[in-house]
Protein backbone atom coordinates (compact mmCIF):
# COMPACT_ATOMS: atom_id res chain seq x y z
CA UNK A 1 0.00 0.00 0.00
CA UNK A 2 1.27 3.47 -0.86
CA UNK A 3 -0.32 6.91 -0.74
CA UNK A 4 -0.47 9.04 -3.85
CA UNK A 5 -1.31 12.68 -4.52
CA UNK A 6 -4.12 13.03 -7.04
CA UNK A 7 -2.81 16.41 -8.21
CA UNK A 8 0.94 15.86 -8.75
CA UNK A 9 1.44 12.11 -8.37
CA UNK A 10 3.83 12.33 -5.42
CA UNK A 11 3.79 8.94 -3.68
CA UNK A 12 4.82 7.94 -0.20
CA UNK A 13 4.87 4.87 2.04
CA UNK A 14 3.47 6.93 4.92
CA UNK A 15 0.04 8.52 4.99
CA UNK A 16 -0.28 12.29 5.08
CA UNK A 17 -3.12 14.81 5.16
CA UNK A 18 -1.34 17.05 2.67
CA UNK A 19 1.10 16.54 -0.18
CA UNK A 20 4.61 17.80 0.73
CA UNK A 21 5.29 18.61 -2.94
CA UNK A 22 2.20 20.51 -4.13
CA UNK A 23 0.11 21.05 -1.01
CA UNK A 24 -2.93 19.19 -2.32
CA UNK A 25 -5.07 17.46 0.30
CA UNK A 26 -6.37 14.90 -2.18
CA UNK A 27 -4.26 11.91 -1.18
CA UNK A 28 -5.42 8.40 -1.98
CA UNK A 29 -4.30 5.00 -0.81
CA UNK A 30 -3.40 2.86 -3.80
CA UNK A 31 -2.96 -0.89 -3.78
CA UNK A 32 0.60 -1.02 -5.12
CA UNK A 33 2.99 -3.05 -3.03
CA UNK A 34 5.46 -4.74 -5.36
CA UNK A 35 9.04 -3.66 -5.84
CA UNK A 36 12.69 -4.54 -5.63
CA UNK A 37 14.51 -4.91 -2.30
CA UNK A 38 17.36 -2.42 -2.59
CA UNK A 39 19.00 -3.27 0.72
CA UNK A 40 18.48 -5.76 3.54
CA UNK A 41 20.22 -5.86 6.89
CA UNK A 42 19.75 -7.84 10.08
CA UNK A 43 18.37 -6.45 13.31
CA UNK A 44 18.87 -8.39 16.55
CA UNK A 45 17.63 -5.84 19.10
CA UNK A 46 13.97 -5.51 18.29
CA UNK A 47 11.00 -3.68 19.83
CA UNK A 48 8.37 -5.19 22.10
CA UNK A 49 5.82 -7.26 20.21
CA UNK A 50 8.22 -8.19 17.40
CA UNK A 51 10.30 -11.32 16.71
CA UNK A 52 13.72 -11.35 18.44
CA UNK A 53 15.52 -10.87 15.14
CA UNK A 54 14.65 -10.21 11.52
CA UNK A 55 15.96 -8.65 8.34
CA UNK A 56 14.79 -5.19 7.43
CA UNK A 57 14.52 -4.35 3.76
CA UNK A 58 14.41 -1.01 2.02
CA UNK A 59 12.33 -1.56 -1.08
CA UNK A 60 11.31 0.62 -3.98
CA UNK A 61 7.69 0.21 -5.02
CA UNK A 62 7.35 0.46 -8.80
CA UNK A 63 9.75 3.39 -8.99
CA UNK A 64 7.21 5.49 -7.07
CA UNK A 65 8.10 5.34 -3.40
CA UNK A 66 10.58 3.75 -1.02
CA UNK A 67 9.19 1.59 1.75
CA UNK A 68 10.40 -0.65 4.57
CA UNK A 69 9.37 -4.18 5.41
CA UNK A 70 10.81 -7.08 7.39
CA UNK A 71 11.52 -10.69 6.55
CA UNK A 72 13.15 -13.73 8.15
CA UNK A 73 15.82 -13.82 5.45
CA UNK A 74 17.72 -11.33 3.34
CA UNK A 75 15.81 -10.57 0.15
CA UNK A 76 18.33 -8.07 -1.22
CA UNK A 77 17.95 -7.75 -4.98
CA UNK A 78 14.76 -9.78 -5.11
CA UNK A 79 11.37 -8.63 -6.28
CA UNK A 80 9.16 -8.55 -3.21
CA UNK A 81 5.65 -7.73 -2.14
CA UNK A 82 5.06 -5.62 0.97
CA UNK A 83 2.01 -6.39 3.07
CA UNK A 84 1.40 -4.83 6.49
CA UNK A 85 5.12 -4.30 7.13
CA UNK A 86 6.22 -7.78 6.02
CA UNK A 87 8.01 -8.56 2.75
CA UNK A 88 7.33 -11.67 0.71
CA UNK A 89 9.60 -12.81 -2.11
CA UNK A 90 8.00 -12.78 -5.57
CA UNK A 91 11.05 -13.44 -7.77
CA UNK A 92 14.56 -14.33 -6.71
CA UNK A 93 17.34 -12.08 -7.95
CA UNK A 94 18.47 -13.25 -11.36
CA UNK A 95 21.84 -15.01 -11.23
CA UNK A 96 24.72 -13.09 -12.79
CA UNK A 97 25.23 -14.17 -16.33
Amino acid sequence: MIYSCKNCGYSSFVSRARCPRCGSTEIYAIAENEGRALLCWKLTATPEGFEDSYYLCLININGKANAFCRSNESLEGDVVEENNGICYRKTKEAANN
Binding site: F13, W41, K42, L43, E48, A65, A67, F68, G85
Partner: protein, 378 residues
Protein backbone atom coordinates in the same frame (compact mmCIF):
# COMPACT_ATOMS: atom_id res chain seq x y z
CA UNK B 1 23.28 37.49 23.06
CA UNK B 2 23.31 34.81 25.71
CA UNK B 3 25.92 33.16 27.91
CA UNK B 4 26.14 30.08 30.11
CA UNK B 5 27.14 31.15 33.60
CA UNK B 6 26.81 27.95 35.63
CA UNK B 7 26.28 24.23 35.14
CA UNK B 8 26.12 20.94 36.96
CA UNK B 9 25.56 17.29 36.08
CA UNK B 10 24.76 13.98 37.75
CA UNK B 11 26.69 10.84 37.08
CA UNK B 12 24.98 9.13 34.15
CA UNK B 13 24.18 5.43 34.46
CA UNK B 14 21.70 3.04 36.01
CA UNK B 15 20.74 5.15 39.01
CA UNK B 16 18.53 4.21 41.95
CA UNK B 17 17.21 7.79 42.31
CA UNK B 18 13.91 8.77 40.69
CA UNK B 19 13.56 11.43 38.01
CA UNK B 20 12.94 14.32 40.40
CA UNK B 21 15.84 13.29 42.64
CA UNK B 22 18.17 13.22 39.63
CA UNK B 23 17.00 16.70 38.64
CA UNK B 24 17.67 17.96 42.17
CA UNK B 25 21.15 16.43 42.16
CA UNK B 26 22.01 18.30 38.97
CA UNK B 27 20.33 21.54 39.92
CA UNK B 28 20.66 22.22 43.65
CA UNK B 29 24.32 23.34 43.34
CA UNK B 30 23.18 26.03 40.89
CA UNK B 31 20.05 27.21 42.68
CA UNK B 32 21.75 27.25 46.07
CA UNK B 33 23.68 30.21 44.66
CA UNK B 34 21.20 31.75 42.24
CA UNK B 35 17.62 30.70 43.14
CA UNK B 36 16.43 34.28 43.60
CA UNK B 37 17.84 35.33 40.24
CA UNK B 38 16.17 32.62 38.12
CA UNK B 39 12.98 33.82 36.42
CA UNK B 40 12.27 30.93 34.04
CA UNK B 41 12.80 27.17 33.98
CA UNK B 42 12.95 25.20 30.72
CA UNK B 43 12.86 21.43 31.14
CA UNK B 44 14.23 19.16 28.43
CA UNK B 45 12.59 15.75 28.68
CA UNK B 46 10.63 13.53 26.33
CA UNK B 47 9.48 10.31 27.91
CA UNK B 48 8.44 11.08 31.51
CA UNK B 49 4.95 9.87 30.58
CA UNK B 50 6.13 6.59 29.08
CA UNK B 51 9.03 5.87 31.43
CA UNK B 52 7.87 7.41 34.71
CA UNK B 53 4.08 7.92 34.45
CA UNK B 54 4.49 11.66 35.03
CA UNK B 55 3.01 14.59 33.12
CA UNK B 56 3.37 18.33 33.64
CA UNK B 57 6.97 17.55 34.49
CA UNK B 58 8.24 21.14 34.36
CA UNK B 59 5.80 22.22 37.06
CA UNK B 60 6.50 19.14 39.18
CA UNK B 61 10.21 19.93 38.94
CA UNK B 62 9.81 23.60 39.84
CA UNK B 63 7.81 22.61 42.91
CA UNK B 64 10.29 19.90 43.93
CA UNK B 65 13.06 22.47 43.71
CA UNK B 66 11.12 24.91 45.90
CA UNK B 67 10.61 27.31 42.99
CA UNK B 68 6.83 26.92 42.92
CA UNK B 69 6.12 30.34 41.43
CA UNK B 70 8.81 30.41 38.76
CA UNK B 71 7.31 30.02 35.27
CA UNK B 72 8.35 26.84 33.49
CA UNK B 73 7.78 24.88 30.29
CA UNK B 74 8.83 21.46 29.02
CA UNK B 75 10.50 21.05 25.65
CA UNK B 76 10.07 17.64 24.03
CA UNK B 77 11.99 17.02 20.85
CA UNK B 78 13.04 13.42 21.51
CA UNK B 79 16.82 12.93 21.53
CA UNK B 80 17.26 16.52 20.40
CA UNK B 81 15.28 18.01 23.29
CA UNK B 82 18.37 19.44 24.97
CA UNK B 83 19.43 21.54 21.99
CA UNK B 84 15.86 22.70 21.49
CA UNK B 85 15.54 23.62 25.18
CA UNK B 86 18.67 25.78 24.96
CA UNK B 87 17.27 27.40 21.81
CA UNK B 88 14.05 28.18 23.71
CA UNK B 89 15.97 29.43 26.75
CA UNK B 90 18.11 31.71 24.61
CA UNK B 91 15.05 32.98 22.75
CA UNK B 92 13.28 33.80 26.03
CA UNK B 93 16.24 36.00 26.99
CA UNK B 94 16.72 37.52 23.52
CA UNK B 95 13.01 38.42 23.38
CA UNK B 96 13.04 40.02 26.81
CA UNK B 97 10.49 37.57 28.27
CA UNK B 98 13.01 36.28 30.81
CA UNK B 99 16.43 37.33 32.07
CA UNK B 100 17.91 34.25 33.72
CA UNK B 101 16.80 30.89 32.43
CA UNK B 102 17.58 27.59 34.10
CA UNK B 103 17.69 24.81 31.49
CA UNK B 104 17.29 21.35 33.02
CA UNK B 105 17.71 18.17 30.97
CA UNK B 106 16.67 14.89 32.54
CA UNK B 107 15.54 11.36 31.73
CA UNK B 108 15.03 8.27 33.85
CA UNK B 109 15.04 5.28 31.48
CA UNK B 110 16.42 2.26 33.27
CA UNK B 111 13.22 1.01 34.85
CA UNK B 112 12.06 -0.32 31.47
CA UNK B 113 13.47 -3.33 29.63
CA UNK B 114 15.63 -2.84 26.54
CA UNK B 115 12.75 -4.07 24.35
CA UNK B 116 10.35 -1.59 25.98
CA UNK B 117 12.80 1.29 25.60
CA UNK B 118 13.41 0.39 21.94
CA UNK B 119 9.68 0.30 21.36
CA UNK B 120 8.96 3.58 23.18
CA UNK B 121 11.69 5.41 21.24
CA UNK B 122 10.52 3.91 17.93
CA UNK B 123 7.19 5.66 18.54
CA UNK B 124 8.75 8.75 16.94
CA UNK B 125 8.58 6.98 13.56
CA UNK B 126 5.50 7.19 11.29
CA UNK B 127 3.22 4.23 12.02
CA UNK B 128 3.84 2.50 8.68
CA UNK B 129 7.62 2.45 9.25
CA UNK B 130 7.25 1.43 12.87
CA UNK B 131 4.89 -1.36 11.86
CA UNK B 132 7.59 -2.72 9.52
CA UNK B 133 9.85 -3.22 12.55
CA UNK B 134 12.08 -0.21 11.96
CA UNK B 135 13.84 1.18 15.05
CA UNK B 136 16.33 3.99 15.60
CA UNK B 137 19.28 1.59 16.08
CA UNK B 138 18.22 -0.29 12.94
CA UNK B 139 18.64 2.88 10.90
CA UNK B 140 22.21 3.17 12.12
CA UNK B 141 22.84 -0.29 10.69
CA UNK B 142 21.48 0.84 7.33
CA UNK B 143 23.59 3.99 7.43
CA UNK B 144 26.75 2.04 8.30
CA UNK B 145 26.17 -0.47 5.52
CA UNK B 146 25.58 2.24 2.94
CA UNK B 147 28.47 4.40 4.16
CA UNK B 148 30.88 1.45 3.81
CA UNK B 149 29.60 0.69 0.32
CA UNK B 150 29.57 4.27 -0.94
CA UNK B 151 32.95 5.35 0.43
CA UNK B 152 34.78 2.00 0.60
CA UNK B 153 35.20 2.56 4.33
CA UNK B 154 36.49 -0.42 6.31
CA UNK B 155 34.28 -1.88 9.03
CA UNK B 156 36.91 -0.93 11.67
CA UNK B 157 36.21 2.79 11.09
CA UNK B 158 33.07 2.64 13.23
CA UNK B 159 34.71 0.44 15.87
CA UNK B 160 37.40 3.10 16.27
CA UNK B 161 34.71 5.65 17.23
CA UNK B 162 33.66 3.34 20.08
CA UNK B 163 37.29 2.78 21.14
CA UNK B 164 37.91 6.54 21.31
CA UNK B 165 34.68 7.41 23.10
CA UNK B 166 35.10 4.62 25.66
CA UNK B 167 38.59 5.95 26.31
CA UNK B 168 37.35 9.53 26.73
CA UNK B 169 34.59 8.41 29.10
CA UNK B 170 37.27 6.90 31.36
CA UNK B 171 38.49 10.48 31.80
CA UNK B 172 34.99 11.72 32.69
CA UNK B 173 33.86 10.76 36.20
CA UNK B 174 30.23 11.48 35.25
CA UNK B 175 30.21 9.05 32.31
CA UNK B 176 28.09 5.89 32.42
CA UNK B 177 30.56 3.45 30.86
CA UNK B 178 33.92 3.22 32.61
CA UNK B 179 35.67 0.63 30.52
CA UNK B 180 38.22 0.71 27.70
CA UNK B 181 37.48 -1.44 24.65
CA UNK B 182 39.67 -2.56 21.75
CA UNK B 183 38.73 -2.73 18.08
CA UNK B 184 38.71 -6.53 18.35
CA UNK B 185 36.35 -6.46 21.34
CA UNK B 186 34.00 -4.09 19.55
CA UNK B 187 33.91 -6.25 16.44
CA UNK B 188 33.37 -9.46 18.42
CA UNK B 189 30.57 -8.07 20.62
CA UNK B 190 26.97 -9.14 19.95
CA UNK B 191 25.49 -7.55 16.83
CA UNK B 192 22.65 -5.11 17.48
CA UNK B 193 21.95 -3.84 13.96
CA UNK B 194 24.15 -5.36 11.30
CA UNK B 195 27.04 -4.54 11.03
CA UNK B 196 27.11 -2.54 14.30
CA UNK B 197 27.61 -4.20 17.69
CA UNK B 198 26.72 -3.57 21.31
CA UNK B 199 29.65 -1.23 22.05
CA UNK B 200 28.70 0.95 19.11
CA UNK B 201 25.39 2.11 20.57
CA UNK B 202 24.68 4.39 23.49
CA UNK B 203 23.55 2.52 26.63
CA UNK B 204 20.23 3.04 28.40
CA UNK B 205 21.07 5.66 31.02
CA UNK B 206 19.51 7.76 33.72
CA UNK B 207 20.83 11.23 34.35
CA UNK B 208 20.31 14.97 34.53
CA UNK B 209 22.23 18.11 33.69
CA UNK B 210 21.45 21.78 34.28
CA UNK B 211 22.85 25.03 32.97
CA UNK B 212 22.01 28.65 33.76
CA UNK B 213 21.66 31.17 30.92
CA UNK B 214 21.80 34.96 31.18
CA UNK B 215 22.39 37.81 28.76
CA UNK B 216 26.02 38.50 27.84
CA UNK B 217 25.78 41.82 29.64
CA UNK B 218 24.66 40.28 32.92
CA UNK B 219 26.88 37.22 32.70
CA UNK B 220 29.90 38.69 34.45
CA UNK B 221 27.89 39.38 37.59
CA UNK B 222 27.33 35.59 37.85
CA UNK B 223 30.81 34.32 37.00
CA UNK B 224 34.22 35.58 36.00
CA UNK B 225 34.31 33.18 33.06
CA UNK B 226 31.01 32.95 31.22
CA UNK B 227 30.83 30.80 28.10
CA UNK B 228 29.10 32.60 25.25
CA UNK B 229 26.60 31.16 22.80
CA UNK B 230 28.04 32.63 19.64
CA UNK B 231 25.62 31.06 17.22
CA UNK B 232 22.76 28.62 17.11
CA UNK B 233 21.06 26.92 14.18
CA UNK B 234 18.19 24.50 13.97
CA UNK B 235 16.75 22.59 11.03
CA UNK B 236 14.42 19.69 10.34
CA UNK B 237 14.02 16.73 8.02
CA UNK B 238 11.11 14.42 7.25
CA UNK B 239 10.09 12.12 10.09
CA UNK B 240 9.49 9.56 7.35
CA UNK B 241 12.83 7.94 6.57
CA UNK B 242 11.42 6.27 3.47
CA UNK B 243 10.40 9.69 2.13
CA UNK B 244 13.93 11.10 2.27
CA UNK B 245 15.66 11.53 -1.05
CA UNK B 246 19.07 10.50 0.23
CA UNK B 247 18.86 7.86 2.90
CA UNK B 248 22.46 8.33 4.08
CA UNK B 249 22.69 12.08 4.35
CA UNK B 250 21.66 14.07 7.40
CA UNK B 251 20.19 17.16 5.86
CA UNK B 252 19.05 18.76 9.12
CA UNK B 253 22.55 18.46 10.58
CA UNK B 254 24.12 20.07 7.52
CA UNK B 255 21.64 22.96 7.51
CA UNK B 256 21.68 23.59 11.26
CA UNK B 257 25.49 23.56 11.25
CA UNK B 258 25.71 26.04 8.39
CA UNK B 259 23.31 28.43 10.14
CA UNK B 260 25.08 28.18 13.50
CA UNK B 261 28.57 28.71 12.07
CA UNK B 262 27.37 31.63 9.97
CA UNK B 263 25.67 33.28 12.96
CA UNK B 264 28.78 32.74 15.05
CA UNK B 265 31.04 34.07 12.27
CA UNK B 266 33.27 31.10 12.90
CA UNK B 267 35.01 28.84 10.41
CA UNK B 268 36.93 26.56 12.71
CA UNK B 269 36.08 25.03 16.06
CA UNK B 270 38.55 23.51 18.54
CA UNK B 271 36.31 20.60 19.63
CA UNK B 272 32.84 19.19 19.03
CA UNK B 273 30.27 17.19 20.98
CA UNK B 274 28.24 15.19 18.47
CA UNK B 275 25.19 12.95 18.67
CA UNK B 276 26.83 9.51 18.53
CA UNK B 277 23.80 7.42 19.42
CA UNK B 278 25.57 4.98 17.08
CA UNK B 279 29.23 5.14 16.09
CA UNK B 280 28.54 5.67 12.39
CA UNK B 281 26.56 8.80 13.19
CA UNK B 282 29.58 10.56 14.65
CA UNK B 283 31.45 10.20 11.36
CA UNK B 284 28.55 11.18 9.11
CA UNK B 285 27.62 14.15 11.33
CA UNK B 286 31.22 15.39 11.42
CA UNK B 287 31.21 15.29 7.61
CA UNK B 288 27.86 17.09 7.33
CA UNK B 289 29.15 19.81 9.68
CA UNK B 290 32.33 20.22 7.67
CA UNK B 291 34.54 19.11 10.57
CA UNK B 292 35.81 16.18 8.50
CA UNK B 293 35.99 15.79 4.73
CA UNK B 294 32.88 14.33 3.04
CA UNK B 295 33.30 10.62 2.37
CA UNK B 296 36.70 10.58 4.02
CA UNK B 297 35.75 11.20 7.64
CA UNK B 298 36.44 7.56 8.46
CA UNK B 299 40.12 8.03 7.62
CA UNK B 300 40.51 10.51 10.48
CA UNK B 301 39.80 7.70 12.94
CA UNK B 302 42.81 5.71 11.78
CA UNK B 303 45.00 8.79 12.21
CA UNK B 304 43.88 9.87 15.70
CA UNK B 305 42.56 13.20 14.39
CA UNK B 306 39.44 13.08 16.58
CA UNK B 307 41.19 12.19 19.85
CA UNK B 308 41.51 14.69 22.68
CA UNK B 309 44.99 15.66 21.48
CA UNK B 310 44.12 15.43 17.78
CA UNK B 311 43.43 18.24 15.34
CA UNK B 312 39.63 17.90 15.67
CA UNK B 313 38.70 16.41 19.07
CA UNK B 314 35.20 14.91 19.00
CA UNK B 315 33.18 13.81 22.03
CA UNK B 316 35.78 14.46 24.69
CA UNK B 317 33.05 13.71 27.25
CA UNK B 318 32.74 10.14 25.99
CA UNK B 319 29.76 11.15 23.86
CA UNK B 320 26.37 9.50 23.96
CA UNK B 321 28.22 6.28 23.20
CA UNK B 322 29.97 6.08 26.58
CA UNK B 323 28.93 9.04 28.71
CA UNK B 324 25.40 7.74 28.19
CA UNK B 325 22.24 9.03 26.57
CA UNK B 326 19.48 9.92 29.03
CA UNK B 327 17.39 11.37 26.20
CA UNK B 328 16.40 14.80 27.55
CA UNK B 329 19.69 15.30 29.38
CA UNK B 330 22.04 14.65 26.45
CA UNK B 331 21.88 17.97 24.62
CA UNK B 332 22.22 19.94 27.86
CA UNK B 333 25.16 17.77 28.91
CA UNK B 334 26.86 18.60 25.59
CA UNK B 335 26.57 22.30 26.43
CA UNK B 336 27.96 21.57 29.88
CA UNK B 337 30.98 19.80 28.36
CA UNK B 338 31.58 22.87 26.16
CA UNK B 339 31.24 25.05 29.28
CA UNK B 340 33.93 23.01 31.05
CA UNK B 341 36.27 22.87 28.05
CA UNK B 342 36.08 26.61 27.39
CA UNK B 343 36.69 27.41 31.06
CA UNK B 344 39.67 25.08 31.09
CA UNK B 345 37.91 22.92 33.71
CA UNK B 346 37.74 19.60 31.84
CA UNK B 347 40.51 17.99 33.88
CA UNK B 348 42.51 15.30 32.16
CA UNK B 349 40.29 15.39 29.07
CA UNK B 350 40.96 19.12 28.56
CA UNK B 351 41.49 20.19 24.95
CA UNK B 352 44.55 22.42 24.81
CA UNK B 353 43.87 26.08 23.99
CA UNK B 354 40.13 25.52 23.47
CA UNK B 355 38.50 28.83 22.54
CA UNK B 356 35.56 27.77 20.34
CA UNK B 357 33.44 24.62 20.56
CA UNK B 358 30.38 23.14 18.89
CA UNK B 359 27.59 20.80 19.87
CA UNK B 360 25.04 18.90 17.81
CA UNK B 361 21.84 17.82 19.51
CA UNK B 362 19.83 15.63 17.16
CA UNK B 363 16.27 14.31 17.29
CA UNK B 364 15.34 10.91 15.91
CA UNK B 365 17.49 10.02 12.95
CA UNK B 366 18.20 13.59 11.93
CA UNK B 367 14.48 14.44 12.21
CA UNK B 368 15.73 17.70 13.58
CA UNK B 369 19.08 19.08 14.64
CA UNK B 370 20.26 21.98 16.77
CA UNK B 371 23.86 23.09 16.43
CA UNK B 372 25.32 25.50 18.97
CA UNK B 373 28.67 27.28 18.68
CA UNK B 374 30.23 28.33 21.99
CA UNK B 375 33.08 30.70 22.65
CA UNK B 376 35.32 31.68 25.53
CA UNK B 377 34.88 35.20 24.13
CA UNK B 378 31.57 36.76 22.94
Amino acid sequence: MVAIVAGHITKFGKRKENLLQLVAEATIPIITKFADEIDFVVVSNTYSGEFNSMSGLNNLIATYLGMDYVPSIRVDNTSGSGGSAILVGKSLIDSGIARRVLVIGAEKMSEKSTKQVTSIIASLLPKEERNAGLTLPSLAGLLAKEYMRKYSAPRESFALVAVKNHHNAMLNPYAHIQKEVTVEEVLKAPIIAEPLTLYEFSPISDGACSILLTSNEESFSFTERPVFIKGIGTASDSSSISSREDIISLRSVREAGAIALKNAKVEKVNFAELHDMATVLEIVEAEELGLLKKGEGWKAYFEGVTGINGEMPINTSGGLNSKGHPIGASGVAQAYEAFLQLRNEAGNRQVKDARVGLSLSMAGFGNSATVIVYGAEP
